[in-house]
Symmetry: C2
Subunit: 138 residues, 2 copies
């Protein structure tokens, strides 16, 4: 699984606990244990979707732009990792019934798998994640 997905969840959860002020990529990166540039890269995707807002310059940073329960993990997955389940098997061999058609068959199967994954991920909103984090602490 693409780690951009979990990094986006992490960042959004972080922001969810600070909805009254902006958080810098430095602060988030420290929480997530990755480089700040990666945070900015991932968050720029979320910004394009309107999930968060950002502000440059002194006192700038990132902040939530929607209600916590209006963003679910499937939304995030689609932005950061859509198609990640698909295998890369590029090779086809036209001389062989299997080699020639396996690629398309697998594509269909993984498409269905991603759909099922979507149904599951839709049930988790950022608000849910925040609650789970709190329960985990207790």
């Amino acid at each position: 699984m693409n780690s951009d997905f979990t990094l986006a969840i992490h960042s959004l959860t972080y922001l969810a606990l600070q909805t009254d002020r902006m958080s810098t990529s430095d602060a988030i990166s420290e929480s997530a244990g990755v480089h700040p540039v990666r945070i900015r890269k991932v968050l720029s995707l979320l910004k394009k979707q309107g999930f968060i807002a950002s502000k440059e310059g002194t006192g700038g940073g990132f902040i939530f732009a929607m209600d916590l329960s209006d963003i679910n993990l499937w939304d995030i997955y689609k932005i950061t990792s859509e198609g990640a389940l698909q295998p890369k098997c590029t090779a086809t061999n036209d001389k062989c019934l299997v080699g020639a058609n396996m690629k398309n068959v697998l594509f269909q199967i993984f498409l269905g798998a991603e759909e099922k994954l979507g149904d599951y991920l839709k049930d988790y909103t950022i608000k849910d994640i925040v609650e789970m984090i709190h329960q985990e602490k207790a």
Copy 2:
């Protein structure tokens, strides 16, 4: 997604079309477009599960050892790729509520996701894949 998974499906489907005789790793590797050693490596896992049998020496190779409809994609996934959905986020940051607990929360979520994936993959047997390959050709 781990390509061992698709390689195993490919190999088993190949064998499914030749249940009356043995197939060599060379033949399968040509169909799948990978190196024969990889085929042998993946198939050795399937052999341990009793899905296939193998025979060394002249005229040897691999052959199906079960009914085609007794092996489904979830069985294969478990052997080749279990836990592949889990992200690698190793870092935890005890100074931060999110950083400290996100790992466990995500672990639970991905565990559930893999279970859902399992429910989906269980519906596809090798026999189904063979049929899909034939339909694809037509």
